[in-house]
């Protein structure tokens, strides 16, 4: 292909990637090293607020933002180096915790607590999603032709549901007076509070994620199963291979590129776990890295938000995703080179 034709094809997409990916990323990187703050002046003012029948007037010292001639608050942006990263990572406290070999001491720091959960969540759900997806795919593949359409439709349903809505519906099943909790309480004759324990919460969140994403793995693996070479399978049968051996030595190697693809997508998605935290309101017990960024960005009643720390946290999340993807990307790269 001539370079000009190539450029004409690729150009628009590179342009869009620059505008919508590279530029925002550079922006976030810049913000994570700078802090923009409003300039305040102190003034003593009388403030009157209503009591039930009378007003209460008090003289208080207020910090008022200084306004410029256009009526906008005067802001000051300064370079702060790694300070926002330090505020997020709390390295001194982290190292002190490591020195004391104290897990609890490290786990009280928001970032490390979030990282611990994010990694556990990602690494435990990954094999489950692939495993359950493969099981459904095999089951559908072996179901009678006339039922397949319906089974595929039903299996895909969890994937179609909006994530937050799905998380909320699971939460409502298991909340203190939910249907399933009531059933379990009746069954076990015990008072159950699934949302009050970190581990039951984490279990529920992982269960939800597997339930939600397994259909995605299923549909891709099911497509892959249609291309398995039937001659190889038949010869394996003639060689006396059992059902499991055929799966282990013929089907799975054939599906391997797809499994790696699903793993890549799932790692990227679940490292950004967020809907579960909001859906199950688990903030008190369990938080994730993405939620941490969101929390820093949410303005409080007075309108303050920690943009610099949120940017630092977002950069750290991105770096985490890259690190976690390296082994898989490396394998894909080696396979690619091996083929070409």
């Amino acid at each position: 292909m001539k370079f000009k034709t190539f450029a004409a094809f690729v150009g628009p997409s590179i342009f869009l990637m620059l505008v919508f990916i590279a530029w925002p990323l550079a922006n976030v990187l810049w913000q994570s090293f700078h802090v923009t703050s409003v300039k305040f002046e102190q003034s003593e003012v009388e403030v009157c607020t209503p009591g039930f029948l009378t007003s209460t007037c008090t003289v208080e010292v207020r910090m008022q933002p200084i306004l410029d001639s256009y009526g906008d608050p005067v802001t000051e942006t300064k370079f702060v180096g790694w300070q926002s990263y330090r505020n997020v990572l709390e390295p001194a406290r982290f190292l002190a915790g490591l020195q004391d070999l104290s897990w609890e001491q490290v786990m009280v720091i928001d970032f490390w607590k979030a990282l611990r959960f994010t990694l556990t969540f990602t690494l435990i759900t990954l094999p489950l999603v692939i495993g359950v997806g493969l099981l459904i795919a095999l089951a559908v593949n072996n179901a009678i032709q006339s039922l397949r359409g319906q089974i595929i439709f039903v299996s895909l349903l969890p994937f179609i549901i909006t994530p937050v809505i799905g998380a909320l519906s699971i939460r409502w099943l298991f909340v203190g007076d939910g249907i399933l909790t009531a059933f379990l309480e009746w069954l076990l004759k015990a008072d159950i509070a699934m949302l009050a324990n970190p581990w039951t919460l984490e279990l529920l969140m992982m269960f939800y994620r597997v339930w939600h994403v397994a259909p995605f793995a299923f549909i891709i693996l099911y497509a892959g199963l249609q291309t398995v070479n039937h001659d190889t399978l038949e010869s394996a049968v003639i060689d006396g291979a059992s059902r499991f051996e055929r799966l282990r030595f013929v089907t799975i190697p054939h599906l391997m590129p797809l499994i790696i693809f699903i793993a890549l997508i799932h790692l990227m998605d679940s490292y950004r776990v967020f809907e579960e935290i909001v859906g199950f309101s688990s903030q008190a017990h369990v938080i994730s890295l993405q939620w941490l960024t969101y929390d820093l960005l949410t303005p409080d009643d007075a309108g303050n938000r920690a943009i610099s720390r949120a940017s630092a946290s977002a950069m750290l999340t991105m770096i985490g995703i890259v690190v976690i993807l390296i082994p898989l990307l490396g394998k894909t790269w080696r396979d690619h080179k091996g083929v070409s």
Binding site: F40, P50, F52, T54, M63, F280, S281, A284, D300, D301
Partner: protein, 402 residues
């Protein structure tokens, strides 16, 4: 919001033969308002909508939208619904205007305690007050021979008695949802212990005896709550009450009317309102107001029309038709039993919630920090030290301290 307009039309149709007098004039300037979505705001915006040309947005996320929407030129909304807390960012950025001239023109009926004055100027018009106060099941208290608690010692003792009697699932309901709600409970009880959040230089002063005692009291209360208390917000506690699952709680006055709503509640007439319990250093509650502000970046015509419309929505007719929806400050309000708790709380000297930029940061730090003590992840001093550290980091970034 088309949906709301329909709702308003429906309400007008329903009320056409009743107490609603309709609007005294025809509003011909298109006006938009943004406020919270609870019962009182529905009543006020419906009354305003009768004059026509109002697009009312009732959105619980109003607090995140308002600062940016009012900073636009022209402002995206004319009327804003605010409370003590959400008033601060608009006032600090001066995206709302002083109302004294408008009050003189259209607001003769306003009572002095409706005018929110800062530094001699009126910046907002309050329509109602709100506070967290004691609500209890009078039937259970009578059966067990408990007198309504006035202090937290009595509150805990009553909870113990109810727990032992086993008449409800959980004796106490608490708005302890991590985040804003939990922080608000800390603020209530910290004031109850006579604490102050800041010194004169905006430095935090919570890591002290009052702070520790506050945390210990909160933890003691959780023993009598649904174990999932860290996910329970005001609506959840209200439902627990309505379904007869709890016997007492320190809940918002704006939720009082719902206890006697026969469509939702199984405990109609059985919930009594009383003043918030006393801590060792004061009333364990804060006073809040809700009211309207007018945007600065709008034309003079629109300013006039918006304020006039707001006054029409906050008039005596509206209060008469919605007497129990809130503890109104507006003329014509008849304080019923639902308001008794808020009145007693205010009378016992509860402090107004401090509407300061620093308090916003402190509230956020408390909201994410307090739960670490309740779950047992940290001890009291570490929890408070971490909250102070979090506040200091945020306050430095915001430029409030050096």
């Amino acid at each position: 919001m088309r949906f709301f307009k329909l709702l308003a039309v429906g309400a007008v149709a329903l009320n056409s033969g009743g107490a609603f007098a309709g609007c005294a004039y025809e509003n011909d300037v298109p006006i938009k308002s943004l406020s919270a979505g609870f019962e009182a705001w529905k009543a006020v915006t419906e009354a305003m909508a009768e004059c026509g040309n109002l697009e009312a947005e009732l959105d619980q996320e109003f607090r995140t939208k308002q600062p940016a929407a009012f900073a636009a030129d022209p402002s995206l909304y004319h009327i804003g619904g605010v409370s003590n807390g959400t008033f601060t960012p608009l006032f600090d950025a001066k995206t709302i205007r002083p109302l004294d001239d408008l009050v003189a023109k259209y607001g003769q009926q306003l009572k002095p305690n409706q005018l929110i004055r800062v530094d001699g100027q009126t910046w907002a018009i309050a329509m109602m007050v709100n506070a967290q106060h004691l609500m209890y099941r009078n039937d259970i208290f009578a059966d067990l021979g408990i007198t309504p608690p006035t202090t937290y010692e009595e509150f805990l003792a009553a909870a113990e008695t109810i727990q032992n009697a086993g008449v409800v699932d959980y004796p106490v309901g608490g708005t302890y949802k991590t985040g804003w709600n939990l922080a608000q409970e800390f603020v209530n009880n910290f004031f109850g212990h006579g604490g102050d959040f800041f010194d004169d230089n905006n430095m935090p002063t919570i890591n002290n005896e009052a702070g520790i005692a506050t945390l210990e009291l909160m933890k003691a209360l959780t023993d009598y709550m649904d174990p999932e208390y860290l996910t329970s917000d005001s609506t959840y506690v209200q439902q627990q009450f309505q379904q007869g699952k709890i016997a007492m709680s320190n809940l918002w006055a704006s939720r009082a009317a719902a206890m006697d709503d026969p469509n939702e509640s199984t405990v109609v007439g059985k919930v009594t309102m009383a003043g918030a319990p006393q801590g060792p250093g004061g009333t364990a509650s804060t006073l809040w107001w809700d009211g309207i502000v007018i945007a600065a970046n709008i034309s003079d015509d629109a300013t006039d029309a918006a304020f006039r419309l707001a006054m029409e929505g906050m008039d005596t007719d509206m209060v008469t038709a919605n007497n129990d929806a809130a503890v109104w400050l507006i003329d014509g309000y008849v304080a019923g039993p639902a308001a008794a708790g808020a009145a007693a709380t205010a009378a016992s000297g509860a402090r107004p919630y401090p509407s300061l930029a620093a308090m916003g940061l402190m509230h956020t730090a408390l909201g994410s920090g307090v739960s670490d003590y309740l779950t047992g992840a940290k001890d009291a001093t570490t929890t408070l030290a971490d909250i102070e550290a979090e506040y200091l980091t945020a306050a430095r970034d915001a430029g409030l301290i050096n």
